[in-house]
C-alpha cells in the first residue's frame, strides 16, 4: 500500500500482529476516518512455514504431521483431507470400520473446533463466561482423543489407507456419555449467548456477506452457509460414507437483521454442533468390526498422476492438489486453505464499519493463522 495515498483527516491504524482479538499473528492496516473504517489491508504470512516445500522433501505419510500442524484446532479434519486425496490417487478403498471411525473423530473435532471458535468469539465481544463453558466441553473431547491416539492436539491419526490406532475399549460408552453431557450445554449456550440481546446487537447487521460475493471469493464452510447457500461437501459430494447418515445442513436465515451477518455465521456453527452430535450417535450405533490397518500400504508410492481432493473441515473446503511423479515423495502439494479465501473477503465486508465492529467481523469468519499462512 502506498503511503502517499493518505491525506487530510485520514488515520492509519495498525491492528496486530500481536492483538488479542486476531486469533494469531495477523496484521490489519486500517485506514479510518474517525471511527469509520474506509479501507482494510490484511498483511499475512507471519506464520508462514512453507508447508508446500516441506511436503516435497518428505515421503507421503511424512506429510501428515505437517498437515496436522496447519489447522491445529482441527487436525483430524486436515489429515483426513490429505489421506483421502492420496487414497484417491492410489485407488485405495478403506473398509467400513475405518470410514466410520473417521466420521466419529472428524465430527468430534468439528465440535471441538466450533466450541473454540464460539468461545473465543464471545470473549472478543466481551462475554467471558461462555468461553469457560466451551473450553470445559472441548477438554472432554481432547481427553477422548488423547485416550485414542496419545495426542491432544496434533494427532497423526488418519493414515493413508487406515488409522494409526483402533478405538480403545470402552470408547463408545465414553463418547455416548460425552454427547449426553454435551447436548444440554448447547441449549445453555443459546440461552446465555446466542439469543442474548447485547450479543445480537453487536453481531447482527455487522459484516454482511452477500451470496454473490461469497461465491466470487470462493468462501466456503459455515461462512458460506451463513449467507444462505445450502452447500456442504458432506451432503453434496459425500466422502467417508456421509451419504448414509441422516443430518441437516444448517444455513443462515437472517433472523436478526440482514442475511449473512456475523450472527448468522455464528449461529450456523452452533447448529452444526447439533448436527455433528447426530452424526456421531449414528456412527457409534453402527460401528462395524474390522482391522483399521487392513489397507495401509507397506510403501506409499502412488502412480504418476495428479489429484485434487477436497473435504469439509470446520472452516470450509480444504483442498489438496497433489502431483505424483511416481516416486516416494510428492512432486508438488498445494493446499487450498478455506481461511485464506475467508480472510480475502474481509476488506470487502468491513468497509464502512466501525473500528470496534472489525473485531466482531474477524471473529465471525473464524480464521486460524496456521492454516492461512501454511
Amino acid at each position: 500500500m502506498q503511503v502517499e495515498a493518505y491525506e487530510g483527516e485520514d488515520m492509519i491504524l495498525n491492528m496486530g500482529p500481536q492483538h488479542p482479538s486476531t486469533h494469531g499473528v495477523l496484521r490489519l492496516e486500517l485506514k479510518t476516518d474517525g471511527e469509520i473504517v474506509q479501507r482494510i489491508v490484511p498483511h499475512i504470512g507471519y506464520l508462514h512455514r512453507c508447508f508446500e516445500k516441506h511436503a516435497e522433501n518428505v515421503d507421503y505419510p511424512g506429510v501428515i504431521p505437517y498437515a496436522d500442524r496447519m489447522d491445529y484446532i482441527a487436525s483430524m479434519n486436515n489429515s483426513l483431507g490429505y489421506a483421502l486425496a492420496v487414497e484417491k490417487l492410489m485407488g485405495i478403498q478403506v473398509n467400513e470400520r475405518v470410514k466410520t471411525i473417521r466420521v466419529i473423530v472428524a465430527e468430534l473435532n468439528r465440535i471441538a473446533s466450533h466450541l473454540l471458535s464460539i468461545g473465543t468469539y464471545a470473549m472478543d465481544i466481551g462475554a467471558y463466561t461462555p468461553f469457560l463453558h466451551c473450553f470445559r466441553e472441548r477438554e472432554k473431547i481432547l481427553d477422548l482423543f488423547e485416550w485414542t491416539c496419545g495426542a491432544r492436539l496434533l494427532y497423526n491419526y488418519n493414515w493413508v489407507g487406515g488409522l494409526s490406532h483402533d478405538l480403545p475399549d470402552g470408547f463408545v460408552e465414553k463418547a455416548r456419555q460425552f454427547l449426553k453431557e454435551f447436548e444440554p450445554v448447547i441449549v445453555e449456550e443459546n440461552n446465555l449467548l446466542s439469543f442474548n440481546k447485547i450479543f445480537i446487537e453487536r453481531t447482527a447487521n455487522v459484516g454482511v456477506l452477500s451470496k454473490e460475493m461469497a461465491l466470487s471469493y470462493n468462501v466456503t464452510g459455515p461462512n458460506l452457509r451463513g449467507s444462505g447457500v445450502q452447500w456442504d461437501l458432506r451432503k453434496d459430494i459425500p466422502y467417508c460414507g456421509y451419504e448414509t447418515y441422516t443430518f441437516e445442513v444448517p444455513v443462515g436465515l437472517g433472523k436478526f437483521g440482514s442475511l449473512g451477518s456475523c450472527w448468522d455465521r455464528y449461529y450456523v456453527r452452533v447448529r452444526e454442533m447439533e448436527e455433528s452430535v447426530k452424526l456421531i450417535r449414528q456412527a457409534l450405533d453402527r460401528l462395524p468390526e474390522g482391522d483399521v490397518q487392513e489397507h495401509v500400504p507397506k510403501r506409499v508410492k502412488p502412480p504418476k498422476g495428479e489429484v485434487f481432493g477436497r473435504s469439509e473441515t470446520p472452516r470450509g473446503e480444504l483442498g489438496y492438489y497433489i502431483i505424483s511423479d511416481g516416486g516416494t515423495n510428492p512432486f508438488r502439494v498445494k493446499v487450498k486453505s478455506p481461511c485464506f479465501t475467508a480472510l480475502s473477503v474481509l476488506p470487502e465486508i468491513s468497509k464502512g464499519q466501525m473500528v470496534a465492529d472489525i473485531i466482531a467481523v474477524i471473529g465471525s469468519i473464524d480464521i486460524v493463522m496456521g492454516e492461512l499462512d501454511r
Binding site: S216, V229, F331, T341, S344
Partner: protein
C-alpha cells in the same frame, strides 16, 4: 451437469485451435490452453449458462523442473467448479521458466487476486493487469521464489539466520554428540 468431454467439446467449438492438449482419462480431466486465450475462456466458462463455473476452487503454480520425460516449464493450474451444475474442470497454462507472465483472472473470480499473489510470491509468475501484485506470504524484500525447484535458501535474512538448525540426524552423522547420554561412562 456436463461431463468433462462435453465441456471440452464446447470449448473446442467456441475457441478452435486454442486448446493445445487435453487428457480426459485421468482422475481430474484437464485441458492445456493457450495463454493468450485464457482470460477470454475464463469469462466464457463463467458466463455461459450451460457451464456456469461460479467458483475457482484453486489456482496453483507448478514448477516442472528435473522431472523425467517432462519439458521444463512453469504451469498454472485452475481448478474450476460449478455449484449450480455440479461439474468440475481443470484448465492448465504452460509458461516458460524464464519470466513467466500471464493475464490475470481477478475480474472473473475475485479470489484469484490472492491466489495470483501467492503464485507470484512462490514462483515469480507475473500476472498482467493484476491490481495489487505484491508478495503475500513472504516479506516484501524476500529474494527468490521459494517453491521453484532450483531455489536456494539464503544464509541470512536481515542479519538473522534463515536456515533451519542442524537436525540431530545430521549431527550424529557428522560424529557430533547429540543431546545428553545417560549411559555414557564418566
Amino acid at each position: 451437469m456436463k461431463t468433462a468431454p462435453e465441456i471440452l467439446q464446447v470449448l473446442q467449438d467456441k475457441f478452435p485451435g486454442k486448446i493445445i492438449k487435453s487428457d480426459m482419462s485421468v482422475i481430474d480431466p484437464f485441458a492445456v490452453v493457450d495463454a493468450g486465450a485464457l482470460l477470454e475462456m475464463c469469462v466464457f466458462l463463467k458466463d455461459d449458462p450451460g457451464l456456469a463455473f461460479d467458483s475457482l476452487m484453486c489456482l496453483s503454480g507448478v514448477d516442472y523442473k528435473g522431472l523425467k520425460g517432462e519439458a521444463e516449464r512453469i504451469e498454472v493450474v485452475y481448478h474450476l467448479f460449478s455449484m449450480k451444475h455440479r461439474h468440475a474442470f481443470v484448465l492448465k497454462v504452460q509458461l516458460p521458466r524464464e519470466n513467466p507472465s500471464l493475464a490475470t483472472v481477478e475480474t472473473v473470480w475475485a479470489i484469484a487476486n490472492w491466489h495470483e499473489r501467492e503464485a507470484y510470491d512462490m514462483f515469480g509468475i507475473r500476472f498482467e493487469g493484476h491490481s495489487d501484485l505484491r508478495r503475500i506470504l513472504c516479506p516484501d524484500d524476500w529474494e527468490g521464489y521459494p517453491l521453484r525447484k532450483d531455489y536456494e535458501q539464503p544464509e541470512t535474512y536481515r542479519g538473522m539466520p534463515a536456515r533451519a538448525a542442524k537436525q540431530f540426524v545430521e549431527m550424529a552423522n557428522e560424529g557430533l554428540e547429540v543431546g545428553t547420554n545417560p549411559f555414557k561412562a564418566g
